[in-house]
């Protein structure tokens, strides 16, 4: 019998030895040359497994965190756009019904109008951040930390807003929502400042 090929030597370790594999195994027991070759193959595989773990030269987490925050912002803008449409319809409905319960509806309508205004300002600020192309720009570590912190705080606010929108009964908690949206606009303003300053510093 001729010596085993590399294919046949490798197949010896595969599960489910076929008849051809059984013949190869029988040959291996009789042939010193093939046994030597098989042993070298096993040693080579062991050496491969023992190669040192390669590590990245730079910390890539800030880049990943930034992309995640950008994705979160994009989703939020989409949600906000849908929310504004729904809100506009709600405001129209409130105006139409105002004659039936003037005092309470007037407060609710005023709150909704404020929220609609704050949502639009949020959208404009998010668009301004998008226009700085911060995702593709070189940023220093401090800027990344400040931006990441602001984005995390915005994400926390978004969670609170979600809870408010899901749990609040119609007409209740409006002032809390107004307050949360105000805080959101404030944080977005700060984030715009961070990105604009960074863009200025890198001369773009």
């Amino acid at each position: 019998m001729t010596h085993l090929t590399m294919d046949e030597l490798l197949a010896l370790d595969e599960p489910g030895l076929e008849p051809a594999g059984a013949r190869a195994k029988a040959h291996l027991e009789e042939c010193d040359a093939c046994r030597g070759e098989y042993e070298r193959l096993r040693q080579r595989q062991a050496r491969l497994r023992a190669l040192p773990t390669l590590r990245p030269g730079r910390d890539q987490w800030p880049v990943v965190a930034k992309r995640l925050a950008a994705e979160r912002r994009r989703r939020l803008v989409q949600r906000a756009a849908m929310g504004i449409s729904a809100l506009a319809a709600a405001v129209l409905l409130a105006v139409a019904l105002r004659t039936r319960a003037p005092a309470r509806d007037a407060d609710a309508a005023a709150a909704e109008a404020q929220i609609a205004d704050l949502m639009q300002r949020s959208q404009a600020l998010e668009a301004a951040i998008g226009a700085t192309h911060s995702d593709q720009r070189v940023v220093d570590g401090r800027t990344v930390r400040v931006a990441t912190d602001l984005e995390a705080r915005i994400a926390d606010l978004d969670k609170m807003l979600e809870v408010q929108e899901l749990d609040a009964a119609p007409g209740r908690g409006d002032m809390q929502r107004v307050q949360l949206w105000r805080e959101r606009v404030g944080l977005l303003n700060a984030l715009v400042d961070v990105h604009v300053t960074n863009a200025r510093n890198v001369g773009l």
Binding site: H3, T5, M6, D7, L10, A11, E14, A33, C34, G36, E37, R40, L41, R44, Q45, R47, L48, R49, L51, T53, L54, R55, P56, G57, R58, Q60, W61, V63, V64, A65, R67, L68, E71, T148, A152, A155, K159
Partner: protein, 178 residues
């Protein structure tokens, strides 16, 4: 098969599922090195490996809700990483050094100066062969699993592995059957 246990894995995954940025970072810190190592062993350059590292964790954080709690977290992350690495290879369409002529000058045992070390020999393999060698021999994937990731057949994976070992044997100056 190597595993990378994460302390409080269940709690970290649960927090990540609720969108906690600190939990995302904890996942990254726990698996950064093995993911980069896998990516670097498959990709040609450190830049590509870093991109794969980023892409992998972006995907991990976005898709953590799809991870089955009864599965291996490292196994799930590793499959994403390998898939991203193959996408990178396809995108780059590097000239595969598998196309190197088979008649690479044979290295005699006494020519120690010409012998490569294993790292250099592995690096010299074509990307496809190197990926198959790494995933099969080191990470423990079966040929069927590798074929699934590459969009090829198990036979293709087997033949790539055999060719790669034949080359490694030559480049490492190991004695061949006479």
């Amino acid at each position: 098969m190597e595993s990378y246990p994460l302390a409080n894995a269940e709690s970290v995954v649960a927090r990540a599922r609720s969108g906690d940025p600190a939990a995302f970072e904890a996942l990254y810190r726990a698996f950064e090195s093995p993911v980069y190592n896998l990516a670097r062993r498959i990709c040609r350059t450190t830049e590509d490996a870093e991109d794969v590292l980023q892409e992998t964790f972006f995907e991990v954080c976005r898709s953590i809700g799809q991870f089955r709690a009864d599965g291996s977290l490292w196994g799930w992350i590793r499959t994403i990483a390998a898939s991203k690495a193959f996408m990178r290879l396809r995108r780059n369409k590097y000239r595969d050094t598998d196309a190197l002529p088979d008649e690479v000058p044979s290295v005699r045992r006494e020519d120690t100066a010409l012998r490569m070390d294993l790292e250099a020999a592995l690096e010299r393999l074509g990307e496809t062969s190197r990926a198959v060698v790494w995933l099969h021999d080191v990470e423990g994937y079966t040929h069927e699993e590798i074929a699934g990731m590459m969009g090829r057949t198990a036979s293709f994976s087997k033949s790539q592995l055999a060719r790669a070992h034949a080359r490694l044997r030559t480049w490492l100056g190991e004695e061949s059957i006479g």
